[in-house]
Symmetry: C2
Subunit: 490 residues, 2 copies
């Protein structure tokens, strides 16, 4: 009986698990998966005074620097505040170069306001700034602003390019090669778009190196059941932290050219390189320096973001993609597709403009900007080193060097009885480990199964972002928990 | 010969018009289509000193208030500036209530910074603010923050809900009923998702009213070749400007319930109602007041945005969707899908928070906020009236009242010889008219064919956003051009 006092006919819902988009059902995204939902619950329980063996949940699951206490870069926020509220241009509290930057950007906005839509590809002036940045980064190799599209974080641009590439049915369905371990945006996007995920494995024994023979194996096997058309590279690696050598990049480009694969280079960690001897080489630069036919024909999309680097401005959702050698008609189609979404968020575009054209040595803000930038990068380098060192002192944990990016991806030995217990519970063994870790220590990391790993191996991804004073105890607590867990199931 | 002095093997591109995603190729989006690209070119030519019969291009093609000179609401920008650059919390130049709002929001952000990711559904505090707003708007009917998802403008949320609904192949493919004329986000999204667009026509003779008999006709015909599962309503109407009467909404809800259709209510113009006797009724409110089974079973998604209303903050890409009676498991799937995109832009979330919880009468900012808000809405109302009046004085132009939203969609008579000339040029007749209008007057409007219209009728969409002092001459110039065009082809 309904409250209105008469029987109500029951009708099945239009939208149920059975009737909804089956591609969406197949999507998985571990970085914000069940373990993170549990972490949120635990935080709530702590707030309600429930007793736990820890006093705070430490979210080392996601590359979110400012959530971990990193301070924003002052200059970036000054310019953005001036743009948001131009009355501040009269305030004596802002440096002259910040005001000049803000005025320059506002001039380029519709109605001189961040509140107007920009053109769909992003504010032309900022696309030009990005082109200049790429030219400087790549030792003078030209970049064309018309090949640069600003985006809602890098994720949005990656999805757009994948969307263009997807076609076919059954054995002609588009296949896309992605690294294993991967950042699960890729697997999620491919599931959503109903494309075929083609796994190639990074070599853990050689510090997660990318091996062309393995690319070839993956490609050959995939050709049986799909039409592989694109190859994704994440460099520096997420979750694996390796930085690719120049020779390796050249080999990958030759391979992609020979096998007719569209290259997608996820280079959002290009400012995050820590290891001595490691250096970031952009795919665009290497491709161009290889000369024709690579320089003139190989299709490439390279992605960057304001969420990572030294600035960590994740919440603003800024980024860009540069396309190289894209077919002109396809590029028009891409432009059209972007126009449906109107424009990327303008504040993110503004921050991107600062990142690609920071204060020059002669500017009043230079010294402070440089000091803040260096402090963040130096601390990240120290934390990368510390992480590797502490984990490798622990029996049963082995961690490759964190050459770049923001994560360690250590391998953990799990006793057979723990594996068996996990299977009884219907959980991946490393998910079981990570859940227990969370419940007993408050440390939230993501199981390796969310990124992919060789069968029978177990890992987790942990950010190196917690502040130094918290990171060492955290690493030690985690190692001790692993030892205890191992004893418990031995 | 390549510049390197040897012959280069030519290789076909991986990605061409022939190999790319055919669904993306089918996407069209007139609001930023060829006419707008030509407007950009004309602006550039004017800057380069090319002589034209006009001195500026007037972009009346898109609902972008601030690009047309509307000033941002001071309070919104003050709070956002404080959040972006919290040093300003010590400044005496900001009112206390703006500081309190900013502090409250920063407390709810990761690391107390807009630079941290929010949870994927949006900052919990702001979801609660939205729920309170909906309750006030709907006369106390409860809203659950857990049913509210913040988004990257309304477009993003609309795409997300459509994505959930799409399934099937051939005759079981999902069909979605959309109004004609429509806002072309819908046709574009359905093309991209490979769903079937099912057109129902609004009745131009009755001020673009929605008629259930026409819904039924469209549905019956569609059932032959697809599986219609959703019904989209735009109220107030875009591009048509009608505001739906309550009885009409009730009839639509009964129809959707009987025919098992998921309701999508695009209510982004809910603050933009001008005509006397017109009033905005939310689908949620009407649905709930109809009692069971509608209130308890009919599935609904309602969309709102910070881009329209009195604030017009398009560039920040803020919005939300409220879902009602959604299957719990489907809602989890939606949550998962959103998590892949990490989070909506946080500055847009902050602005949304101001829109849904503006200053109260006792707050220091109230008087100014209220004055600014009323000034914008009063001017829009006057411009709506003026537009209708001037157009209806012109022979061969007929314009329904602009009861709400931000556009007029007048019908124009085009002489048969003009229609013939357009056909020779391979253009839709109203595209031909609008292109000539642009070339001769600098006025940029969007042809009705981009929104859909009854065969043999011709329209254009023009925003009512140009400032009052420009709008009257603009309307007159347009009417005169139409008269001249008609003479030319008679």
């Amino acid at each position: 009986m309904a409250p209105w006092g008469r029987t109500v006919p029951r009708r099945e819902k239009v939208l149920t698990l059975d009737t909804m988009n089956p591609c969406v059902r197949r999507v998985e995204y571990a970085v914000r998966g069940p373990i993170v939902l549990r972490a949120l619950e635990l935080e709530q329980e702590l707030r309600q005074g429930v007793k736990k063996p820890f006093t705070e949940v430490i979210r080392a699951n996601i590359g979110d620097a400012q959530a971990m206490g990193q301070k924003p870069i002052t200059f970036l926020r000054q310019v953005l505040a001036l743009c948001v509220h131009p009355d501040l241009l009269n305030s004596p509290d802002f440096p002259e170069d910040a005001k000049r930057k803000a005025e320059r950007i506002l001039q380029a906005c519709g109605g001189h306001s961040l509140g107007a839509y920009s053109v769909s590809s992003g504010i032309q002036l900022i696309r030009e700034d990005v082109a200049s940045y790429i030219e400087r980064r790549d030792g003078g190799i030209p970049a064309d602003p018309n090949n640069i599209y600003l985006s809602t974080g890098a994720s949005d641009a990656i999805l757009t390019v994948l969307k263009l590439l997807v076609a076919g049915e059954g054995p002609t369905r588009t296949g896309v090669l992605i690294p294993i371990p991967q950042y699960p945006l890729y697997s999620a996007a491919l599931a959503e778009l109903n494309a075929v995920q083609v796994d190639y494995y990074l070599d853990e024994e050689r510090a997660w190196a990318l091996d062309v023979a393995e690319l070839r194996r993956a490609l050959c096997q995939a050709r049986d059941h799909c039409c592989p058309r694109a190859l994704c590279i994440i460099n520096p690696g997420n979750p694996t932290g390796q930085v690719q050598a120049r020779e390796c990049i050249e080999a990958v480009i030759r391979f992609a050219f020979e096998e007719r694969l569209f290259l997608m280079a996820d280079e959002v960690y290009q400012d995050n390189v820590y290891a001595e001897g490691s250096q970031f080489h952009s795919f665009k630069k290497v491709l161009t320096e290889m000369g024709p036919p690579y320089a003139t024909q190989q299709e490439l999309a390279s992605f960057h973001s304001v969420s990572k680097g030294y600035m960590g401005e994740c919440g603003f959702r800024g980024g860009y993609v540069e396309v190289v050698n894209l077919d002109a008609a396809v590029q028009q189609q891409m432009q059209k597709l972007l126009s449906v979404r109107l424009c990327p968020p303008v504040p993110g575009q503004v921050l991107l403009s600062m990142v690609v054209s920071p204060p020059a040595p002669s500017d009043p803000s230079f010294a402070q900007f440089q000091a803040e930038r260096q402090a963040v990068l130096a601390e990240l380098a120290a934390k990368a080193k510390l992480t590797e060192q502490v984990f490798n002192e622990a029996p049963g944990i082995r961690c490759n060097p964190v050459q770049g990016a923001m994560y360690s991806f250590p391998r953990v030995q799990l006793p057979p009885r723990a594996v068996q217990r996990a299977q009884e519970l219907g959980l991946a063994p490393d998910m079981f480990f990570c859940m227990r870790l969370l419940e007993e220590t408050g440390i939230c990391v993501v199981p390796g199964s969310g990124f992919g790993q060789r069968e029978g191996t177990y890992h987790f991804r942990m950010t190196i972002l917690p502040p130094m004073e918290k990171l060492r105890p955290l690493l030690e607590k985690l190692s001790q928990f692993h030892a205890k867990f191992t004893r418990e199931y031995s």
